[in-house]
Amino acid sequence: MSHPELVENVAAGLSRRGLPSEYVERVQTELADHYADLVEDSVDAAEAAERLGDERRLTKRFVREYQRRSFAGRFPLVTFLLGTPAALILSWVVVMLTVQVVVENFLGGAGTTVDGHLSWLEWATLRIQVGIFLIVLPSLVAVWFTRQARRSGLGWQWAALTCVLMAFAAGFFQLRIDYDHCMAFISTPQLDSSWLPMPVEWLKHYLTTPAQLVQWLPPVLLGALAFRQAREQPTAATC
C-alpha cells in the first residue's frame, strides 16, 4: 500500500528532527493504517487526509511528545548550557582525584621532580594528564551530550552548543613545559576588561599552537560525528 503524501511528509519531518527510525516507522505505519481505514469506510482520499489532521501540527505533536520522554528533551537549556560544563568539571575532579591516588600510591609520586630533571615517567605522566583533561574528557562529554540531543529528538543547535562549549573549555588552557627549571605551566588567557572584548586576541589564543588546535578540534569533530551516528541507532526510549 502506498502511503498518502501527508503520512510521508510527517515521517520525513520526524526523520529530519532526528527521531529514531524505529519510532518514525511506527508512526508512519499507524498513520497509514488509519488512512487506509478511512478510505475503506468510503471516505475519499482528500477528506481522509484532512481528517488525519494538519501535517505540520501532527509533526510538531509527535516531536514534542517524543522530546518529553527525556530530561534533555524537556529541559534542553538546563541540560546543555549548564549540564555540559558541570559534567566536564565533575569529570575533571573525578579524574584528578583518581590520578592523584594512582600516582601517589602506585608510581611513588612520579609527578614531582627530585633531581632537577624531568624523568620520562614524569614527562609521560604530565602529558597523559593533560591529554586526558584537555582532549579526552571534553571530547567524551561532547559525544555523550550530542548523543543525548539526538536521541531526545532535539535539533542540531543543542549539539552544536555542547561542542562549542567543550571546544572553548578544552582550548582555553595552554600547557607550557619549562625544561630548564623542570616546571610545567598551565596558562589561560588574561581575563581583564581590556582583553576580554577582543575577538582577535581570543582567536589568537585558540590558534596559537598546533597543540591548541589538537585540544579544541576533537570535541567539535567527535561531537558532530556522534550526533550523526546516534540518529541511526535504536534507543531505549523508542517504542
Binding site: 493504517d33 494538519d54 509527535f62 517504542c239
Partner: protein, 119 residues
C-alpha cells in the same frame, strides 16, 4: 488544511481521561478508538484524528497503556490496552474531573442566579 478537524481548546487532561476510559472497556487500535470517541461523545469531541497517536504513545511511555501488534481484518494493527497503572491513573483523573465539573457547575449556577435576582 482545514482547522475544523483540530480542537486546540480540548481541555488539558481530558484527552487522556477519554482514552483511558474507552480503552479500559476493551483494547482497541487507533482508528477504532477515534470512532469510539466520536460515538461516545456524540461528535462533540473533534480533533485531527492523527493526534490520537502522540497521545497513545505518551500514555504508553508512562506505562498507563500497553500495545501489541495483532492481525485484525487481514492487517497488522497496534492494539492498545490499559495497564494496572493506567486504571489507577484513570480512577484518580476521573475523580479530579468530577470535582472540577462540580466546581464549574457551582460557579456557573452562581453567576446565572445573580442577574435573575437583580432582574
Amino acid at each position: 488544511m482545514s482547522k475544523k478537524r483540530t480542537n486546540p481548546d480540548f481541555v488539558n487532561g481530558v484527552p487522556e481521561l477519554v482514552v483511558l476510559d474507552l480503552l479500559a472497556k476493551r483494547p482497541m487500535y487507533g482508528y477504532e478508538l477515534v470512532q469510539a470517541i466520536r460515538e461516545a461523545s456524540g461528535g462533540t469531541l473533534e480533533f485531527g484524528e492523527g493526534c490520537v497517536y502522540p497521545l497513545l504513545h505518551k500514555l504508553e511511555e508512562r506505562g498507563q497503556l500497553a500495545s501489541r501488534r495483532m492481525e485484525i481484518g487481514g492487517r497488522s494493527r497496534v492494539v492498545y490496552r490499559v495497564t494496572v497503572g493506567g486504571r489507577k491513573r484513570f480512577a484518580e483523573a476521573a475523580a479530579r474531573w468530577r470535582e472540577v465539573v462540580e466546581g464549574v457547575q457551582q460557579v456557573l449556577g452562581g453567576s446565572t442566579s445573580v442577574p435573575s435576582r437583580a432582574g
